[in-house]
Point group: C2
Chain length 237, copies 2
C-alpha cells in the first residue's frame, strides 16, 4: 500500500503567492529592516495584480510582523526589525483560548527561567554581574521610597528577572521568556507590600550564588523565589 500517493492540490490565492514572494525577499536579505517597499500601486503593477489583492498580502505580512505601514507622504510599507511580539501574541492567544492552563504556563516559565539562571553562573562576565548588581541597588532604593512606588517596584522587579535571564546568553530562551511578560504583569500586581524584604533578600542570595559561580545554588534559589510568589498569587485570587 502506497502512503500518500498524491499531494493536496492547492489553488493558492493570489495574495498568498505575493506574501510568499515578499517574505522570501525579506528573509533572503534583499530588504533590510527599515527599508521601504515600493508603493502599493507600483507593487500591484509589478505583481500584475489588483490593489485589493496586494492589500490583503500586506495585511498578512503586517500581522506576521514583517512589515509596518505608515500613511501619508513618504509613507509606505517598511520592513520591520525582528521582534518577539508575534511569539508573545500567539502564545497569549493560545493560552486565552484554553489550549493551555495557567499552571502549564507557570511550569514552563519556571523551567526556562531557572535554567537560564543556572547557565548565568557559567556564562556571565564579571562586568555583567556588576551591571546586574547596580540594577539591584536601584531596585533596593526604589523599595525604600515607600508604598507609593510599590507598583513601579513590581514592574522593575519583573524586568530584573529578564536581566538575570539574559546572562545565560541564549536569545531563544530570552525571547520566549519575554513573550510571557504580559501574563507575568497581570499577576505580580497582586503581591502585597510586606513581602518587599523577602524579595530583596532572595535576589541578594541569587546574585551571591552567581558570583560564586554556583549555578546549582542559583537555580535552586530562583526556583524557590518564583515558586513562593506564584503560590502567593494563587492564594490571593
Amino acid at each position: 500500500m502506497m502512503e500518500q500517493p498524491f499531494q493536496r492540490v492547492s489553488t493558492s490565492r493570489v495574495s498568498e503567492a505575493i506574501v510568499e514572494q515578499i517574505r522570501q525577499a525579506i528573509l533572503d536579505g534583499q530588504f533590510q529592516p527599515g527599508d521601504r517597499l515600493p508603493s502599493q500601486r507600483e507593487l500591484a503593477k509589478m505583481f500584475g495584480v489588483g490593489r485589493s489583492a496586494l492589500l490583503e498580502a500586506i495585511r498578512i505580512l503586517e500581522q506576521s510582523g514583517l512589515l509596518t505601514i505608515r500613511t501619508g507622504g513618504n509613507g509606505g510599507a517598511f520592513v520591520t526589525a525582528p521582534s518577539i511580539r508575534q511569539v508573545s501574541d500567539s502564545l497569549d492567544l493560545l493560552v486565552r483560548r484554553e489550549g493551555a492552563t495557567r499552571e502549564e504556563l507557570a511550569e514552563f516559565r519556571i523551567v526556562l527561567e531557572c535554567y537560564c539562571c543556572k547557565m548565568a553562573a557559567e556564562k556571565a562576565s564579571e562586568e555583567e554581574l556588576n551591571q546586574v548588581e547596580l540594577e539591584f541597588n536601584e531596585l533596593k532604593e526604589l523599595a525604600e521610597k515607600g508604598s507609593a512606588y510599590w507598583q513601579t517596584f513590581l514592574t522593575r522587579e519583573i524586568e530584573f528577572h529578564f536581566s538575570i535571564a539574559s546572562l545565560a546568553h541564549n536569545r531563544v530562551s530570552l525571547a520566549v521568556l519575554h513573550s510571557l511578560a504580559t501574563w507575568l504583569h497581570s499577576f505580580s500586581s497582586q503581591i502585597p507590600e510586606f513581602y518587599e524584604g523577602r524579595m530583596l533578600n532572595n535576589w541578594q542570595a541569587i546574585i551571591a550564588a552567581l558570583r560564586n559561580r554556583d549555578g546549582e545554588q542559583a537555580q535552586r534559589l530562583l526556583n524557590e523565589h518564583i515558586y513562593f510568589f506564584n503560590l502567593m498569587r494563587s492564594s490571593t485570587e
Copy 2:
C-alpha cells in the same frame, strides 16, 4: 511629573476595529470552533463597511489563526480550533531572522525536551506508556526493513521525540518544542545508518526509566541521546 497621562489616539483602521470585535466575540465564546460567521456581504452590511475592509479584517484573523476560510457553496469564514501553529510559525520566523544561532536553539531544545522527559516519569499514565511502547516497536520494525526506509525511520524518530515529550502533559512546552520541528528535520537527515542500534537502545533504556518512574534517569539518558546525535551532526557538516 505624571507619567503617560494620555493614551495615544489611534486613528484605528476600520479593519482593525472589525478584527477587534470579531476577536472579542470569539474569545468571549459567542462563536465556538467550527461555527460559521455570516457571509462577507452580510458582515460588511452589519459592520457598515465595504467588502474590501472586511476582507482585510478576515485576512488578519485568518493569519492569527482564529478563522479558516472555505470557498464555494456553504463556504464562508469558520472559527478555527485553537492550535499551536501560530506559535511555531512566529518562533520559526524569529529564529530565521537571525535573532539566534543554532547553538542557542539546540541548547533551548535540550533543556525543554529533557525536562518534559523528566516530568513524563511523574505524569504519564500506564496506558500512555503502553501506547508509546507500541510506537517504539513500530519504529524498531521500520529499522529492520533496511536502508531503503532509513529516511522514513528518521522522520518517525523525530515524531517519537514528541510522543515522549507529550507525556509531560504540558501543552505550552509541547507547542514550543513542535515549533522547532522544521529545524530538527533539516539536521537529523544527516545521521548515518549504522547508528540505528544505538538509537534504539537509547530509547529502550529511556522507556524503561519512565516505567520505573525514575525521572532523573530518563532525563539523563535523553540528554545523552540528544547530545550525542547533535555532536555527530556537527561533525558531519
